[in-house]
Symmetry: C2
Subunit: 227 residues, 2 copies
């Protein structure tokens, strides 16, 4: 085997402006309403909607969960979370846009009954890249990863792991069927975002959902105490 030089073409990203003010308006409104708001980001198929459904179920009477569903197309997820007991839910169809933006959330908040929500989960479009750059007005950024996606995702998509306030590793029931190296996964996240909480769950078996949900309730109590 010969040694190959790796040649790299670096292309600098363009700057984003303007979205942050709209996000601040949303954030203040949600805080005033005492609604802890989570921007849920992941690859397509990591299990965002299923995590929402299982979180509603695990929370039970302890807190009501509202949902803003962001999708390219369709309203199947909003139907699912309303059927699954969400306090209120609204669908945003981005018509091809690869991420939600603060003004879209602002419009959705105009239609959402915040009086029926203690926690609001904004399910972003499935995408590990673009949502990272757009604040929505959330109090917490949650990065969800499915075990079948591989332990190298923090290395390949570092920004989302660096900016997230909490990371959930889902589908741990599949860990024995895929080559997932927990040490690499944890160490690469630690390097990008030291001390960030990481929860392992299986939405299929229910494993780990209590710990995740209790942490979320603690964060809700903190937000309301600050308020």
């Amino acid at each position: 085997m010969s040694v190959h030089a790796v040649r790299i073409v670096n292309i600098v990203e363009s700057l984003l402006i303007g979205n942050d003010e709209a996000a601040e308006v949303n954030r203040a409104r949600l805080k005033a309403a005492g609604v802890l708001t989570v921007n849920l980001m992941s690859s397509p198929g990591a299990g965002k909607t299923t995590l929402i459904l299982r979180t509603i179920e695990t929370l039970g009477d302890r807190a009501r969960l509202g949902v803003i569903e962001g999708d390219i197309a369709g309203s199947i997820d909003t139907e699912k979370v309303l059927a699954g007991g969400a306090g209120d839910a609204i669908q945003i169809n981005t018509g091809g846009n690869c991420h939600l933006e603060a003004n879209m959330v602002h419009r959705a908040l105009g239609d959402l009954d915040l009086g029926k929500c203690d926690v609001l989960v904004i399910e972003n479009v499935g995408n590990l890249v673009c949502p990272t750059h757009w604040a929505l007005g959330e109090h917490l950024k949650l990065c969800l990863v499915g075990a079948a996606e591989g332990h190298d995702k923090p290395i390949k998509y570092p920004q989302i792991f660096a900016v997230s306030d909490v990371i959930v590793l889902n589908k741990i029931d599949l860990i024995d069927h895929v080559d997932f190296d927990r040490t690499v996964f944890y160490e690469s996240i630690q390097a990008l975002n030291p001390g960030v909480p990481i929860f392992e769950v299986s939405c299929r078996t229910g494993e780990g959902l209590d710990a995740w949900t209790n942490w979320l309730l603690d964060r809700l109590a903190m937000l309301r105490k600050e308020g």
Copy 2:
């Protein structure tokens, strides 16, 4: 259970211009060189790099495979495909950009030795949305999906399935461990893109790789016959 009305906020996408001319320049150059070029698109963690490695292995002496690797960061995939026998390979780091664009590929082609490639695979950034909108100069768009992502991906991300020339369903060794409904998957693709070829493979077990690779060789022969 009460019936809930689903409220939808539709946001119209903005138009993209300018990239297509650069793509045509790339496409003509690649065709003149007799190099069948595939734009490989998928979610993060669907197994793009592993499919490339297994395709190189299965092609053996029948065709040399070149690779352009698009990533947010890192060069681990380029190292892997060169070690795995790629004819030549080059890394593009997008510095945060969520998709490759034709001008990035144009720059990479300046450094790539096309004389060592019969087939060129351009591994796009892991993203089921943005790459759809950007022609690179490819002859074929390939959409790769991992079974663990779920059978509903064509419904949730319709554009990529609609524009692809071939679809590969990977990780079929996991099908028994996840709730994957083949009927829904196939029917929804058929509705979006009638007659598009779909290959089922497991890069882990090797199942299905011969059929996929033989199809690719047929397409290479067709390109050269047209030429």
